[in-house]
Amino acid sequence: MSLPEIALALLAAVAIVTAASALLVRELVHTILWIGIFFVDLAAIYFLLEAPFLGVLQLGVYAGAVTVLLLFGIMVTRKRIFSREAATGIGVAPLALAALTVVVLATALDELPSGNVPIQAYPPTALSTDLFGAHGPWLLLLGLVMLVSVSGAIWLVREGRE
């Protein structure tokens, strides 16, 4: 195995473990820690895929902002931060459904070419040329949609508070 392959295997294992841990631990603050690690791990995968801009974005937005937001959500909705969730049983049906979905997706793997595929270079300069050049107006439009969503979120929080 080459070095990148080993790195990928490690990062993938960490991603799955941290994701699962985030959902399974009963202390919500630990959940935030796990999910933070998960986001950082994904950023590392983006670097591995030679998408440094996305890696940085992932670190900034996900590992930074989203994690803090989630932590904030937990803090304002509880009296004590370090309190344990009531144990939630793992139902058979949800597990089976999730597993079945993975199996269905995995069937697609059979049809892929085996062996390694070289990664095409797509430097951040090219990304920015595409994103803010040809697709700039659309990006603006999407930004507008996000702005509306966030405004809605603010309204939702303010509503009922006279």
Partner: protein
């Protein structure tokens, strides 16, 4: 004025030629041959208006009587509730009646025929909160329905007979159009099936009998007197019930009847005339007396049409409309004034209501056929006409004699009503003191009285005569007074006068004190009041026959249809009760339904679709 227009119209006609005015609103052309919807004979549907002598005559009757009744209604109905409904229904009726008269083909005629029947139902049941009125409305609707179904069958049969003759053949091929000369044209074509033709005629006769309350479908008209008197005057005396006679006239002019049908029509007319008159003899209810006399007079018209004197029949319809509407409106004035319809409780109204008494007397004289009143001229002409056919049709004899005997009865029963209501002294002190109505009620009475006096003489006006002569079946127009006819007239007038005299002797001379109608009837009087048991027979038929069928249907409905329905209901109810439970409100559960659905789609795409493609071959 309308009468003047009519006469002017007649004068404008050039003698000896048939004139009509035809507008077509709607023409559904026949599909081209070979088209799956095409009739073999190129039949097409038409809707339009046709003004010919027959409809011109009817139009005058409908509009004149309609206007006067509307005017009269203003006062007569003033205190009623539901007036918008009343006037709306009356207007709808007038529109439908005009449509019927102006229809230019048999299907359109049938359409309006049903509409006037519907309006009649509405208006009889105007006081629907009264059980008697509601049931009378239902009865009228159901009994005329029997006739309507027969009429429709008659149309089908005529279509079957003439429609099978091939393309381009007159009446059927042109979409049931009323075309003058069609009768003669069809007579020249060998009938495809003479028996069927006869049956078709019988069916048409059945339709007419239902609408014109001819024996044995006559039970509904006396009961229809539950409606307001104005409605009785307009619908059940002057116009709608005449539609049956008009149908017979139209059919005989445009289609022709077979000899057997003619005999049947004559028989029906004669029998109805006599038996309705006998039932009128004992009636205690002033409106019912007039109702029976309407049936009786309609019988005369049917008789005339059957004997081939179509235009004479319509001439009698014309005069009858005026004097019968007059009688009804006069009776309405009495009822309006005293508040009862029971003749035995009235009496002595002549002094308080002289104008109404005079109007009723004029109507009665016209009805009885005393010259020079309107009824004399038309009825006399009618009877003379039927008499003239007796030589060639001896089978008409008994019906002619029945019709002739009825003249006596007519004079008797109508003046019995007059003497009971107007002469003598008031018998029931509890009644309101009678008084004349306001001008809205008296003006129609005066106008109709004038018409009841002079309408019979119109036949001698050249214009009117020309109009009558332009219709079909013009025998007996104008009346010719030879020796035989003078003799017949003399006998007829004496019979009517005799009837009036007997009425005076019994009820007007003060020799018999009228007994209250509540006394139990006995003997012949009981039979007559029970209408020869025909109504009871219908009731029995309804009660046992229909009830048995209804029970069976109810059983079927309850156990088979309802069983199935309730089974479905229960099954889906259970199902929905179970489906309800999956709506837990828990977002996780909804998410799992989404994932489950995705998996089903995936299974379909990945497993089922490849299998099917492999099994049956891909596209």
């Amino acid at each position: 004025m309308a009468v003047g227009v009519l006469i002017a119209l007649g004068e404008s006609l050039s003698p000896g030629t048939y004139t009509d005015v035809r507008f077509t609103w709607l023409h559904l052309p026949a599909p081209p041959p070979g088209h799956p919807g095409a009739f073999p004979n190129g039949f097409s549907l038409v809707m339009g208006t046709l003004v010919d002598p027959l409809s011109a005559l009817m139009l005058v009757v409908v509009t004149v009587v309609g206007f006067l009744v509307m005017l009269y209604s203003i006062e007569y109905m003033r205190k009623e509730r539901g007036l918008p409904r009343y006037y709306a229904e009356l207007s709808l009726f007038l529109a439908a009646m005009n449509g019927l008269v102006l229809a230019d083909n048999l299907l359109e005629f049938f359409l309006f025929w049903e509409l006037v029947g519907l309006c009649s139902y509405f208006l009889i049941g105007f006081h629907y909160e009264r059980p008697a009125a509601a049931s009378a409305a239902k009865e009228a609707f159901l009994v005329t329905r029997v006739g309507d179904v027969m009429f429709l069958l008659g149309i089908f049969l005529y279509f079957a007979v003439y429609g099978a003759k091939g393309p381009g053949l007159g009446w059927a091929a042109s979409g049931f159009l009323f075309v003058q000369g069609n009768h003669a044209f069809l007579a020249g074509v060998p009938a495809g099936n003479p028996t069927l033709l006869t049956v078709a005629g019988i069916m048409i006769l059945g339709g007419a009998a239902g609408k014109s309350a001819q024996f044995p479908l006559d039970v509904w008209l006396p009961d229809a007197m539950e409606g307001p008197t104005t409605v009785s005057a307009l619908i059940h005396a002057a116009t709608m019930v005449a539609a049956g006679v008009y149908l017979l006239a139209v059919t005989s002019v445009f289609l022709g009847f077979t000899a057997f049908d003619s005999l049947l029509i004559v028989a029906l007319g004669g029998i109805t005339t006599f038996f309705a008159a006998t039932m009128a003899v004992v009636q205690p209810d002033i409106k019912r007396v007039i109702a029976y006399s309407t049936i009786s007079q309609l019988g005369y018209m049917v008789l005339a049409v059957g004997a081939g004197f179509t235009m004479v029949g319509l001439y009698h319809l014309f005069t009858h409309a005026f004097f019968k509407a007059l009688l009804f409106l006069a009776a309405g004035a009495v009822i309006h004034a005293v508040g009862t319809q029971d003749l035995f409780r009235m009496g002595g109204l002549r002094k308080r209501m002289p104008l109404t008494a005079a109007a009723f007397a004029i109507g009665g004289l016209a009805l009885a056929g005393i010259p020079p009143f309107a009824g004399f001229w038309s009825k006399d002409d009618l009877l003379a006409g039927v008499y003239s056919t007796l030589g060639s049709h001896p089978a008409y004899w008994p019906f002619f004699l029945l019709a002739f005997a009825t003249v006596f009865l007519t004079g008797y029963y109508i003046f019995r009503a007059w003497f009971l209501a107007f002469s003598g002294e008031p018998r029931d002190p509890s009644l309101h003191a009678g008084h004349e109505g306001p001008w809205e009620m008296t003006v129609p009475l005066v106008i109709l009285s004038a018409l009841a006096v002079v309408a019979g003489l119109f036949v001698y006006l050249p214009g009117f005569q020309a109009l009558l002569l332009h219709g079909g079946g013009v025998a007996g127009i104008p009346p010719v007074y030879g020796t035989t006819q003078l003799l017949l007239s003399a006998v007829g007038v004496s019979l009517a006068g005799g009837g009036i005299l007997v009425a005076w002797a019994l009820w007007g001379s003060g020799r018999i004190v009228p007994t209250p109608s509540a006394a139990p009837a006995a003997g012949m009087r009981r039979v007559l009041l029970a209408r020869y048991g025909i109504k009871s027979a219908y009731d029995w038929l309804g009660a046992t026959g229909v009830y048995t069928v209804a029970r069976a249907a109810d059983f079927f409905d309850r156990f088979v249809i309802d069983g199935a329905v309730h089974g479905f209901e229960r099954a889906f109810g259970d199902l929905s009760e179970r489906m309800r439970r999956i709506q837990t409100g828990l977002v996780s559960d909804y998410a799992s339904y989404v994932v489950g659905g995705l998996l089903v789609v995936a299974a379909l795409l990945l497993v089922v679709a490849p299998y099917l493609v492999g099994r049956f071959g891909g596209g």
